[in-house]
Structures are given as structure tokens and as C-alpha cells.
């Protein structure tokens, strides 16, 4: 339409309480998704001739109700937190990083190599940062490829990251299968240094669960991401590019440079996530450990509404579903959880634009 829309006075689209509105738009979609998931869950459980109430109770007992289960939830949530943070970071800049799985794997691989290269007995205070740097660097390198291709050639990062996933995972497989594996397995030898203490070491009731110090690192990472996004100059520029690239350009921000930074850092965050499995759980790199974590990271970012705190909560939620599936396996197959995960993502994807449309329309009508 020719003509500027500013010809007439534009009425505000937000009434007096902005925080309530932001909260509404942010929180309603995940709640809607939760509701939809519950309904679907009920249907699936009933199709197995079981009582939903009983199954849900069993699920909660198996996940939050006992220490081992809770520990497992925390462990799984840690990896999801890292990939979720990575995806949400990219989305804040308007970019879709689907390469979480390969970045995570590359990071874990680098951490394992570092752990092997360091001499036995290296104190954790030295080993952990070094492994993390290696992991972050590996993930960052993988993340920088789509970043470069986008800024230089305009290649869409969605396809490039998906393609790169396959390439990098194949490359890692070649490294392991060819040279570095312990015979009869597809994993590297146990690392000499950088082993992270388990939650069970501190609190014996968690014995057997894989939750480890990486959990703290994940929470700290969320804090760092929050600080970067909302308190730093780089974060101001990044969010500006994600929200309104024309205005960012007008304000002197180099959009291309922000893209490069965003995807590289996103890859870095996912890469560091590799320490959960490698340093905290198995103490070696195993081919395929990252399977599915990238796509679940997308789900976590989406449900967590791209906010570090939301991501942590969402990671915890999805980890609960995953562990819960094992807990209820006697009554309902754990495959039900796979279905629910897909349903939740779909429900959130659909409700985000729909909720926004409904809320803004209702607000406008009430203001008029």
C-alpha cells in the first residue's frame, strides 16, 4: 500500500500495565501447550486401559519423588539447558540454529581430547576451564560456519546448520571409528583429568544418578547469557537486530557482525554442554551421545520463550517427561513421551502467534 501508515494518529497497542502484557504473551502459550499435552496424555493412557491419575502419580513419584529419579532429571535437564540456551540465543538475534546436536558433539569431543591430553592428577580447577574452553571453541567453530555463509553469501542458516549436523557427526564418527576408539566400542579411552564430581558424591541418596557439577555450570551459563543479553552492549545490539533489523542498521549497528557473533556464540554454548556427558557422566566421548539433543533444544527454547530462566524451567520440564517415561514404563510405554514431546512443540508453535493475535485484538477493542 502506498503511503505511510503514520498519516493518522496511532493509538497505543499497550494499556497501562506493560509487564502484565509481556507476561501474558510469554506465559500463555506454554501453559496452553501443557494443557494440550495433558489432554493428549490422558487419551494415550486411556488407550492403554490405564487410569491417567494413577499414571501421572507414578510419573511424579519416579521423577521428583525419589532421589535417583530426580538426579536423572537434573542430569538430562543439564544437557537440554545448554542446547536450549544455544538455540534461544540465536533466536534472540533472529537466527535459527538447528545445529545443536553437532555443536554439542564437537564440544564433547574436544573436552574428551583435552581430558586425555592433560596429565593424570591435574587439579579440577585447572582441568575444567581448559576442557570448557576446548569444548566452547569446537562448538563455536561449528557455529561460525553457518554464520559466515549467511553474512557472506546470504545462505539461510536453517538448511546450512541441518546439513552441517550430518557432516560434522560423520566426521566425528570417522575420528572415533578410525583412530581413537577403545576396541569393541565407539568411545574414546577414559579421560585422565577433568572428571566432574557427581551429585551423589555430595549427597549419597542420589547414588546411581548421573547428575554432576555440569548442572552448576549450566545454571551459571544461563546467568551469563542473561547478563550478556540484557545488561551488555553486545546484547543490546543483538536483541535490536533480532527485533528490528532496519532500526538496528539505522542506529549504526552492523547487522552482519551481530549475526556472526550470535551464531558463533550459540555454537559455543552448545559445545560447552558436551561436558555434561563427557566430563560428568561417562568420562569419555561416545559416538551418538548427543542424539536428539539439538532438536529438543529447539523445543526447550520455544517453550522457554527464549529467556534464560524460561529455558532452565523448560529443560527441567522436558527432562521430567523423558525420565518419567522410564518410570511409567510398566503401565504405559515410554513411547508415549515421544508423542507428547512432539505435541507440546506443535502446540506452542501454533499458540505463540495465535495468542498474540487474540490478546492484541482484545486489548485494542477494550481500549477503543
Amino acid at each position: 500500500m502506498t503511503g505511510s501508515p503514520l498519516a493518522a494518529e496511532i493509538k497505543p497497542t499497550v494499556s497501562g500495565a506493560p509487564w502484565r502484557e509481556r507476561a501474558e504473551e510469554a506465559l500463555i502459550p506454554p501453559l496452553v501447550a501443557l494443557l494440550v499435552a495433558l489432554i493428549c496424555g490422558d487419551l494415550l493412557i486411556l488407550s492403554y486401559g490405564q487410569s491417567p491419575a494413577a499414571v501421572y502419580r507414578l510419573l511424579l513419584e519416579g521423577t521428583w519423588g525419589n532421589a535417583y529419579g530426580f538426579g536423572q532429571v537434573l542430569y538430562k535437564a543439564t544437557t537440554l539447558a545448554f542446547t536450549g540456551l544455544a538455540v534461544s540465543f540465536g533466536l534472540r538475534a533472529g537466527l535459527f540454529n538447528i545445529g545443536g546436536e553437532s555443536q554439542l558433539a564437537a564440544g564433547g569431543f574436544a573436552a574428551a581430547l583435552t581430558g586425555l591430553a592433560l596429565p593424570v592428577g591435574t587439579p579440577l580447577i585447572l582441568a575444567l576451564p581448559l576442557c570448557m574452553i576446548a569444548a566452547g571453541a569446537a562448538g563455536g567453530v561449528v557455529g561460525s560456519v553457518p554464520a559466515y555463509l549467511k553474512t557472506r553469501f546470504g545462505a539461510h542458516e536453517v538448511i546450512v546448520t541441518i546439513m552441517l549436523n550430518f557432516i560434522v557427526l560423520a566426521l566425528l564418527n570417522w575420528f572415533i571409528a578410525g583412530h581413537l576408539h577403545v576396541p569393541e566400542t565407539l568411545h574414546t579411552p577414559e579421560i585422565h583429568a577433568g572428571v566432574l564430581p557427581r551429585l551423589a558424591d555430595i549427597s549419597p541418596q542420589f547414588h546411581g544418578s548421573a547428575a554432576n557439577l555440569a548442572l552448576i555450570v549450566a545454571v551459571l551459563a544461563a546467568g551469563v547469557v542473561w547478563f550478556y543479553l540484557f545488561r551488555s552492549r553486545g546484547g543490546y545490539d543483538l536483541r535490536a537486530v533480532g527485533l528490528q533489523p532496519s532500526a538496528a542498521e539505522y542506529g549504526g549497528i552492523s547487522v552482519g557482525r551481530v549475526w556472526l557473533r550470535a551464531l558463533t556464540l550459540s555454537g559455543m554454548i552448545a559445545g560447552i554442554g558436551g561436558i555434561n556427558y563427557v566430563l560428568g557422566y561417562k568420562h569419555y566421548y561416545e559416538d551418538g551421545f548427543a542424539s536428539g539433543a539439538g532438536f529438543m533444544g529447539i523445543a526447550v527454547a520455544l517453550v522457554g520463550r527464549n529467556h534464560p530462566i524460561g529455558v532452565l524451567v523448560a529443560a527441567f520440564f522436558f527432562a521430567t517427561l523423558s525420565q518419567g517415561g522410564l518410570a511409567i514404563h510398566a503401565f504405559v510405554p515410554k513411547q508415549m513421551m515421544d508423542v507428547l514431546q512432539g505435541v507440546v512443540i506443535l502446540a506452542v508453535a501454533v499458540s505463540v502467534p495465535e495468542v498474540r493475535r487474540i490478546l492484541r485484538g482484545a486489548r485494542r477493542r477494550s481500549d477503543a
Binding site: W174, Q335, P353
Partner: protein, 289 residues
């Protein structure tokens, strides 16, 4: 390496790609991102086995497989066209949903976490090297037929308009929404057929049996510049690489992992424009109100 066996194996491997890529071409040309081919294929594979198992006839399996693909594609269509949800996110969701649903029903119907019972497929005569399978011939025909549809029918013209300049199409009274629904449904059925072929060829359904073939199909679409014939050639190229990998297994000439990478590396190269730019349909991924 016998060139004839190489070729026949290559063709057999290419068939699922040909089906799915042809579907992907029409949906993307209409403007809808089709990362969902993997999910459509998987659901088609399961649907085929379900139908074939309970009816004893592979043809029933074909119908149920197509139906399964169609159902998933309609979910995709409604979410992206009616609700205007982000097409990439919905794509990821559909793929995960397909894995979950097929696993769930695999357990429910066949009480297994890994595979279904054996079903009858087509053909079976070793000497025919797979060419006694009617689906194989269908797969070889699907790309030329799709080319015909896109370039020589009114529907194809509207698809091309919807993907490049939907406003222009609307301005002459073409319902872009309807065209896109049809295109996505078509992609679901075709990709489903790809899964049907796969499952019936292996005579069973195994968990996540598509193993990324849907992504190779979308790579073929991109590498083939969204043209059905070029995408078909890309499918053959990728299938050739895969055949090479299988035949070279154990010979240590080139590590198989590198051959595995070929389709994906080529797609990135196409996107980066090293050998001519791969420019997608202008309206791909954007759904206006």
C-alpha cells in the same frame, strides 16, 4: 564392481528420495518450507506396514501409507497456513511427532520397541533386481510427472505464482491458501509413498527407519534448484554416492563417512553459490495474512 549391479542398486536406493523430493519440490515451490519430508516418510512407512500386516496385501499397505503421510501433511498445513506458525519449528515438531507416534503405535499394535513383524512386499524375484516392484517404476515416473504438473498445468502455474509472488496471485483471484494446502497434501502423499517403498522393500518397519532420508530429499530439492527433473538427478547423484559407500565398505579406499557427507556438502555449496546460486522461491517460508 559390476556396473549393472551398481546401477540397479543405485536406482533402488534412489526411489524413496525421488518420491520425497518430488513432493518437496511442489510444496516449496508453493512457498511452504518442507523440512517435514522425513516425518511424512516415516509415517508412510509405518502406515504401509500396518495396512499390509492386517490385510495381507501390499496394495492396501500402499493406500494406508499414503493416508498416513497425508494426515501428517495436513497437520503441517493447518499449523502453517491457517495458524501461521513458524514453518521451521512446525517442521521440527512434525518430525519429532512422527517418530513418537510411530513408536507409540509400534508398541501398541506390534508390542515391540524396535520392529514390526514381517510383511509381504512387492516383487521378490532376485533376478529382477527389484524391477518387478511396481513402486519402483512409479518412483521413476514421479519426477517427470511432477515436472509436467508444475510446468504444464494450471495448478502448477498457480503453485509457481504462490511461491514467488502470492500477492500477484491473490490479485487475480487465485486462492493462495488453497493452492498451498493442495501442494502440502501432495508432498505428504508422495513422501509417504517414499516411506511405503522403503518399508515394503525391507518387509518391515523399524524404529526411525528413514534415518535422515527425508533430509537428503530436501537437499536434493535445494541442489536441484527446486526443479523436479534437476532434483531427480540430484537424487540419483546422492544415491550413487550411497551405493559407492556400500560397495566400498571394507575396502578402505575412502572412508565411508566422507561419502556419506557428499549430499550435505553439495547442498551447502549450492547455497553458498559456488557453482551458481540456488535461489529459493521468493515467498518461501513467509505466510502473509
Amino acid at each position: 564392481m559390476n556396473p549393472v549391479t551398481f546401477l540397479t542398486q543405485m536406482i533402488r536406493i534412489a526411489i524413496p528420495y525421488l518420491f520425497a523430493a518430488s513432493g518437496g519440490v511442489v510444496a516449496e515451490r508453493a512457498g511452504i518450507v518442507s523440512l517435514t519430508l522425513e516425518g511424512f516418510m516415516l509415517s508412510g512407512a509405518f502406515g504401509a506396514v500396518l495396512g499390509a500386516n492386517y490385510s495381507g496385501s501390499p496394495w492396501v499397505g500402499v493406500l494406508t501409507g499414503i493416508l498416513a503421510g497425508l494426515i501428517f501433511s495436513l497437520i503441517h498445513a493447518v499449523a502453517t497456513i491457517r495458524y501461521r506458525a513458524d514453518q521451521v519449528v512446525v517442521g521440527v515438531a512434525i518430525n519429532l511427532l512422527a517418530i513418537g507416534v510411530t513408536r507409540f503405535f509400534l508398541k501398541l499394535f506390534f508390542d515391540s520397541s524396535s520392529n514390526s513383524p514381517r510383511v509381504t512386499g512387492f516383487g521378490g524375484n532376485i533376478k529382477a533386481a527389484g524391477f518387478d516392484n511396481p513402486l519402483l517404476w512409479l518412483g521413476l515416473l514421479v519426477a517427470p510427472v511432477m515436472a509436467f504438473v508444475i510446468y504444464r498445468t494450471p495448478f502448477g502455474l498457480r503453485v509457481r505464482a504462490a511461491g514467488e509472488h502470492p500477492d500477484a496471485a491473490e490479485s487475480v483471484g487465485v486462492s493462495v491458501k488453497r493452492v498451498r494446502y493442495a501442494a502440502v497434501a501432495l508432498s505428504g502423499m508422495l513422501a509417504g509413498l517414499g516411506g511405503v517403498y522403503l518399508a515394503l522393500d525391507q518387509h518391515q518397519f523399524t524404529d526411525q527407519m528413514t534415518a535422515g532420508r527425508g533430509f537428503i530429499a530436501i537437499s536434493a530439492v535445494i541442489f536441484g534448484r527446486w526443479d523436479p527433473i534437476k532434483a531427480a538427478f540430484a537424487c540419483l547423484l546422492f544415491a550413487a554416492a550411497e551405493t559407492l559407500q556400500i560397495q566400498l565398505q571394507g575396502s578402505h579406499a575412502i572412508a565411508s563417512q566422507f561419502i556419506e557427507m557428499i549430499p550435505y556438502a553439495l547442498t551447502i555449496v549450492a547455497l553458498a553459490g559456488v557453482v551458481g546460486r540456488a535461489v529459493p522461491p521468493a515467498a518461501l517460508g513467509k505466510v502473509e495474512g
